[in-house]
Amino acid sequence: MRLLKEFKKNPMLIVLLVIMLVFMPPALVSPGQNRERGVVIAIGIDKDEDEYEISFLTFIPTPEQSYTQKNSVISGKGETIAKSLYNAEIVMGRKIGLSHAKTTVVNEKLLEDDVSKHIDYLSRFASLSENTIFVCTSSPAKEILTTSSSLQSTVGLQLDEIIAYNAENLYISDTSLEAFYKGYYSRSSASLIGYLSLTDKEGDKGGSAQSTGQGGSTQVDEGSDTSGGESGGKQGGGSGQSQKQITNNGEAVLLKSGKLVEKLSANHLNGINLLNRKSVNQIVTVKDVDYNGGKYDFSYRIKRKRINTATKFQNGVPIYSSHLVLGLELVEIEGEHERLKVNTEFSEMPPQIKKKIDEEIKKQFTEAMNILRKNKADVIGIHNKFFRDNRKAYKKFIKDIKSKDDFLDYVNFKINLELKSD
């Protein structure tokens, strides 16, 4: 009774006392979560036969005052992702904290069947943010992480900087887990994710491969470097032998129901991106144009873009027509006569160039659409557009055809270009 009275008089003091008695002692000796958890910056998943290998790029604290990040790669194997993660935890001796993971790299092999099954554990694992970058690679994911850790700097960050750039300019959307799932659950279950590869340093021509430039980017032979994956130095990044380097050619892979169906080159992506409002800065090059008696190659950069898309059903045929207004800027002229002046003469685009560009862009677009059509993958929201604008007709149409996946086959794409010199 006396206790109750005391409690009534100053209840919060008692609560504070309880806190001090019960919660404070363990907290006093707790080293803090940042020392109890392995802070993972990037995740790599490989699959070998029935075994998964999950690798973590973790950050290792170093008692320096320079505050640079030192990373190392730790991996675990197991029959399931959960098990391999558990094994990796044992190796690390810490619980793994995924909340700072910014990148997830998966090996192509995982994409052989529905990848969402494999990464289910990770996306359920609540602390892995759905905004984690999700990319696919031809080489073992572990090796990508090893390479990035050996680059001495915060490559985990660099990696996502590169990909963020791509997301703005190249991919239809972010290449994140979220974007993958969005595509996965969309009407055509198609999603687009980024693609990285590893190359030997010597054989590489330019780190600038990440540009959106056409054709010029280095093509990578996928098969060549996967063999030495395990043996290549783990921590040192194999500095003694051939140095590896992460290359981003601006490629992407197309997934249908989580399965890899097609690898898209930067060129294809450009075609798809024509309908992407945000994606600008692409360069269109037209070759061998007759101009003033000489042959020139002209490169134009897309500076502005205005897109008007309309959908309709004409005689039972779905028509997807887009009207593109492109503001182009002449950036380069290559040819025999060097005297052509960029600034003045080309304020109006000569008709022959216009025609060539028109052809070029339309070719790109058709190619891209053909790929989408072939794979029944709708990554630019064609279904949605029809659904929204012509709901009744769309529903009826879908009902009439065998599978709604085939819808894309029936769609008639029309593109209408209006080119302006900027």
């Binding site: 806190i19 803090g32 979560q33 604290p61 505050y67």
Partner: protein, 480 residues
């Protein structure tokens, strides 16, 4: 027939005042007539005594009577008859008590004087611009300082005596046409009921005035400058001046008052809004930052941005302390340094700051005892505390509580503690005024002089929080 046996009286009072060294008496004889004076020479003006009493007495030729003595001889402003049982009291209050053998009346002459300071700028609230006078220990001077600023017949100055031993004079000051009647009555009642043996400083009666004396939070305002007190009286508050104390108390008190500063009114109001918001932020940083930092470090590494996490992880690696102990250690270090620098004479202050900043801080980090982020967080909160120096002691206690909460319970502890604190503060009504007014509850008309201030020309209303008798500062009369 003699009314008093003067010699006997002298002996009697000498004994009653314990034969103190400063006890003095003089007997003046003029024939049969004897006049004896008793006083404490330590607290009276001796020059005035000889000029105002002795000199006229010696030059007076005729027969003396008590009336003549009172009205013609003694040249002093305050001369009064007293009862015999008050004699000791009067002597102790710096009066010269006069017995005669020709009257049964006792006279007390006020010659009270003791060394006082001149009103100087108080060290705790210096101003850049604005009046520099501060209150002093002398009650009379303090009343003068207020009276000089409030030339109105509405000003009421009421007096009481508190303390069975010290017998301090306590004065209540308020404007009778503004201050709420209930408030005045309540304060008077509270003052009357104070039972204490001595009041050395106004802070002695402070907790008697509080509605919740056992509460951590300050419920009575205190000011050392007459301009501040006068502005508060003008708002309808009651000022309480205690003799021998340079600190004047004001009731009711709201927390906003400590965010305000007299400087605010002497500068541009836009600037003062900014400064007040800064003070609030300082208050929050001071209270919450160590607790929140601890919570983040122990429980919520996942909310920290990666780069900050790396910094923390790098710097805390290899420390002998766990995060909790580290913060407590640094906190103690700062608190000790603070106490030391307060007590040390100023010429040694430099030495402590060198020892504190260089040796303890820098070397502590280099020696791997404490981590730089920890030092920064604690230092930040310790410095922010002095954006509101009036609340420094309360904030320090709160810091400790929030360190315990944050360290033991994480961010939930911190937020829950904050809510509990605000809830608790909302329960306190200081003499009918909500403690967190005018924000909770919101009193729209008072917001003009809250965190964001309006131009003085727009502040034409008296703050409603203190429920004043009239609403406008100046009642405009119709000119006809």
């Amino acid at each position: 027939m003699s009314y008093f046996n003067v010699e006997e009286k002298l002996e009697e009072y000498k004994e009653r005042l314990n034969d103190s060294v400063d006890y003095s008496n003089r007997i003046y004889e003029k024939g049969e007539q004897k006049i004896c004076m008793i006083f404490l020479k330590s607290i009276i003006d001796q020059e005035l005594l000889s000029n105002a009493i002795f000199l006229p007495l010696q030059t007076y030729e005729d027969d003396l009577s008590i009336d003549i003595l009172k009205n013609k001889i003694i040249k002093c402003s305050e001369v009064k008859d007293i009862e015999e049982d008050k004699v000791i009291n009067e002597i102790l209050n710096g009066r010269v008590v006069i017995f005669t053998n020709f009257s049964d009346k006792i006279i007390a002459v006020d010659l009270f004087k003791f060394p006082t300071r001149v009103p100087t700028e108080p060290p705790t609230s210096p101003v850049i611009q604005g009046p520099r006078e501060g209150f002093v220990e002398d009650l009379q001077t303090n009343i003068t300082l207020i009276r000089r600023r409030l030339k109105t017949d509405n000003l009421v100055i009421k007096s009481l005596e508190i303390g069975t031993e010290t017998k301090n004079k306590v004065i209540m000051c308020f404007l009778k046409d503004v201050a709420n009647d209930k408030l005045v009555k309540d304060v008077y009642k509270k003052l009357k009921n104070i039972k204490i043996n001595g009041v050395v400083d106004s802070y002695y009666i402070l907790s008697f005035l509080e509605e919740r004396p056992d509460s951590l939070f300050k419920q009575i305002g205190g000011a050392e400058k007459p301009d501040i007190v006068v502005s508060k009286i003008l708002e309808g508050k009651v000022a309480i001046i205690v003799d021998n104390s340079p600190i004047v108390l004001t009731v009711p008190f709201i927390i906003l008052e400590d965010l305000q500063n007299s400087n605010d009114y002497y500068t541009n109001h836009h600037y003062s809004s900014l400064v007040r918001i800064m003070r609030l932020m300082g208050l929050l940083i001071a209270i919450l930052s160590p607790g929140a930092y601890l919570a983040l470090q122990i429980y919520h590494y996942n909310i920290l941005p990666l780069n900050f996490l790396i910094t923390i992880a790098d710097t805390t690696l290899g420390l002998p302390f766990t995060p909790f102990l580290e913060i407590i250690f640094i906190f103690l270090l700062f608190q000790i340094l603070y106490e030391v620098s307060l007590r040390l004479p100023s010429y040694l202050g430099l030495a402590t700051s060198v020892v504190g900043a260089l040796i303890l801080g820098d070397t502590g980090i280099k020696a791997g005892l404490i981590s730089p982020p920890g030092v920064i967080i604690v230092a930040l909160s310790k410095i922010s505390l002095y954006t509101i120096p009036e609340q420094a002691s309360q904030i320090t206690v709160l810091q400790v509580i929030f360190i315990i909460l944050g360290g033991s319970l994480g961010v939930m502890g911190v937020v829950a503690g904050l809510i509990y604190m605000v809830n608790y503060l909302n329960k306190i009504d200081s003499y009918g005024t909500p403690y967190l007014a005018p924000y909770s509850p919101r009193i729209p008309s008072d917001l003009k002089d809250a965190l964001i201030t309006s131009a003085p020309t727009q502040m034409d209303k008296l703050p409603k929080s203190f429920s004043p008798k009239k609403s406008k500062k100046v009642e405009v009369k119709d000119e006809k």
